[in-house]
């Protein structure tokens, strides 16, 4: 067992004796066109069944809804007017001005944050409308809440530093679902697939849903990684919005990209998950966002619950002592 919080190398913590680099994504939402090729590629490659009843959800072009047991990539669509764009620009600017300490050694390629001063962001450069599109995925956290709390060992840390469920070990206890601070992993139920009778025959013979009752999430295409292949979603992405590679390179690319956008005056750009000092020790999937994380349905300050586990065990120990003392008092005390 490695440490429970803070910066670390999760692969080494899991006692892998080799030097595979940690793999990860950099999802650059500023160039996502919302085509959902990633969603489709993921479904196809992983044989994930239909999720939900094919309804229109009334949330722009997003009728997928959210990540879940059968949806391992989810493209979010957000429509915003000018007022909100200006707010996003201001909140992004405030982030830079906070003087966030750089993580790791400074790099030559990334200009200092103060370069932002030269950016001219006065309207009319601000559009009066924009669409935000972002392909969400499991974060493959450095400190993964799901993995920590899994009692069976079904969830494990791969040699690539990713987090994967073993279908044949999981007994569907569901602890991981509550343990994930990002609401990613979910237990697959068999109740969601209803095939409309009016549809053609091949749909009527809908294949049986695999892995019912088992927790499911993105595997970062473990089966493809072991064959030295790019994950299906990254491969299918036509705009390279989803970039895949060594985690360190991904973080570096993300930093370069965000400074480039800042230099263009797009101060709304910010990184999500690139800080190894955050509540989950940094994420394996790094994102470049154009507004506050909660706008995309991401938690603004996630913290792996297990970070507080030693304290919880201590408190529980005190409670146990209290209970024993109460019982002793009940028998030895007066009145009886």
């Amino acid at each position: 067992m490695g440490q429970l919080s803070g910066p670390t190398d999760p692969t080494a913590d899991a006692r892998w004796e080799h030097s595979h680099p940690r793999k990860g994504f950099f999802t650059d939402t500023s160039i996502c066109i919302g085509c959902k090729a990633c969603e489709v590629a993921c479904k196809e490659w992983n044989h994930n069944p239909q999720d939900g009843d094919l309804e229109l959800l009334g949330s722009s072009y997003d009728n997928t809804g959210e990540l879940g047991a059968s949806t391992w990539r989810h493209v979010a669509f957000i429509e915003q007017g000018q007022e909100r764009i200006i707010e996003a620009r201001e909140s992004g600017r405030a982030l830079v001005n906070l003087g966030m300490p750089r993580i790791g050694p400074p790099t030559q390629s990334a200009p200092a944050p103060t370069n932002l001063a030269e950016a001219d962001t006065t309207p009319p450069d601000t559009a009066d409308f924009r669409w935000l599109m972002s392909s969400d995925v499991c974060k493959h956290c450095t400190h993964a809440g799901c993995l920590d709390v899994c009692p069976t060992g079904a969830l494990f840390r791969t040699e690539f530093g990713t987090v994967v469920v073993q279908d044949d070990v999981c007994n569907g206890c569901g602890t991981c679902v509550a343990g994930c601070p990002f609401g990613v992993i979910e237990r697959r139920s068999n109740g969601t697939v209803k095939v409309a009778t009016s549809r053609e025959e091949q749909h009527a013979n809908h294949p049986e849903v695999p892995n019912v009752g088992i927790a499911q999430k993105c595997t970062l295409c473990y089966d493809r990684l072991v064959a030295d292949e790019t994950p299906a979603c990254a491969k299918a992405c036509p705009t390279t919005s989803i970039k895949f590679g060594d985690h360190d390179d991904m973080v570096e690319t993300a930093r370069e990209r965000v400074s480039a956008l800042h230099a263009q005056g797009l101060t709304e750009a910010r990184l999500y998950g690139a800080n190894e000092n955050d509540g989950v020790g940094g994420t394996g999937s790094v994102f470049l966002l154009l507004d506050e994380p909660e706008v995309y349905g991401l938690p603004p300050d996630p913290r792996v619950p297990t970070a507080d586990l030693p304290r919880m065990y201590r408190r529980a120990g005190m409670a146990v002592a209290g209970m024993a003392a109460a019982a002793a008092l009940a028998f030895l005390g007066g009145r009886a």
Binding site: E90, P113, P151, P300, P305
Partner: protein, 363 residues
């Protein structure tokens, strides 16, 4: 504080003061946490979320798990009462408590297994031991507890049936280990009652996680009063003295721990404890606990009053467990309980000068 050209873009002073006010107040700030809003006359904006969809997922647990929380507590307290009866020469209390412990732990285990996505794989719980997983630790505690509770209860059943269980030569073994088994169960009783609080606390479910400091105290108190209630129902008043004492101690602990918990929790994350079904259950739980405790204290020597108080205590404990359980599930389903406390704590850290630990960074 940096001195850059961008300071002109910094929020106006009133907005900054509002941020600090928000920290001291009940935490109902709506200014995006970045202090960028400068028009206090405009009604504060609702927090942003993605089409109101939840951020975290609720545990896929049904009422079975709440039932287990309750029965596990009853079993744990009963084992303590059983061991106490065993050591202080109260055979009826000892017998009833041991039987109660086995019945409760058996029922609880069935409820737990039923709630698994793959019940046939329940033994996978014991294929490893993981300290980081309260569910794993708890499975081992439950197993160890059940062994002791089972052996001591079977010994009682054998005695009650006039040694008619087909045990053969094993009867001597059973009688020899019965005492130690009762003690062993009592040793694991406290952990059995308390680990479920860690199980709930160690999640991203806002209300449970925010309650992690005090929840173990609530749960062990609830276990004490529930098992004492059961003993008051099953055992004649002559031997039930310790149960009455335990009931009173449990009620005091339960009420106090619950109050402290609500006070120390993040005020927003505590809201689901007061709202809707969960709120009603917790309110009634407190009333029934107080009524049962008073009954035990004042009228516990009357068999009828004792039994009625015992039932009230059992109901109170069940309502506590269901209430806490439901409040957590409700908090996970509403993005507000995830987003607002997180934004507030992030803003509070930033206001205190800690800027290096946010997940969102400008570079």
């Amino acid at each position: 504080m940096t001195l850059s050209e961008f300071d002109s873009f910094r929020p106006a002073e009133p907005a900054r003061r509002r941020r600090q006010d928000g920290k001291r107040g009940p935490g109902r700030r709506r200014d995006n946490g970045d202090g960028s809003r400068e028009m206090p006359m405009v009604p504060e904006q609702e927090f942003t979320s993605y089409y109101g969809r939840p951020v975290v997922k609720p545990a896929p647990w049904g009422d079975d798990v709440a039932i287990y929380l309750f029965l596990g507590g009853v079993a744990a307290g009963s084992a303590l009462l059983g061991a106490g009866g065993q050591l202080t020469g109260r055979p009826t209390l000892c017998r009833n408590a041991r039987l109660g412990a086995l019945a409760a732990v058996g029922g609880g285990a069935v409820a737990l297994v039923k709630d698994l996505g793959r019940p046939e794989r329940f033994l996978h719980m014991l294929r490893t031991f993981k300290v980081t997983s309260p569910m794993s630790v708890g499975s081992w505690i439950l197993s160890a507890f059940s062994a002791g509770a089972g052996v001591s209860a079977v010994a009682e059943i054998d005695r009650m049936s006039g040694h008619r269980l087909p045990l053969g030569p094993l009867r001597k073994v059973l009688q020899a280990v019965e005492g130690p088994a009762g003690i062993e169960a009592a040793v694991f009783a406290g952990p059995l009652a308390a680990y479920t609080a860690v199980l709930l606390g160690d999640t991203a479910t806002p209300t449970w996680n925010a309650a992690h400091e005090e929840l173990p105290f609530v749960f062990v108190s609830s276990a004490c009063l529930a098992s004492a209630g059961l003993a008051m129902v099953t055992t004649p008043v002559r031997e039930a003295g310790p149960a009455r004492n335990l009931a009173v101690l449990g009620v005091v602990g339960d009420v106090v721990a619950m109050k402290v918990m609500e006070r120390r929790m993040d005020p927003i994350a505590a809201e689901p404890l007061h709202q809707g079904k969960a709120g009603a259950m917790l309110k009634w739980s407190e009333r029934l606990a107080v009524a049962g405790g008073l009954g035990a204290l004042l009228g516990g020597r009357n068999r009828v009053v004792a039994a009625a108080s015992g039932l009230a205590l059992l109901a109170a404990s069940a309502l506590t467990r269901f209430g806490v359980f439901e409040a957590g599930i409700a908090s996970a389903k509403d993005p507000r309980y995830t987003i607002e406390p997180q934004k507030n704590r992030l803003a509070a850290r930033r206001a205190a000068g800690v800027t290096g630990d946010a997940i969102t960074t400008g570079s």
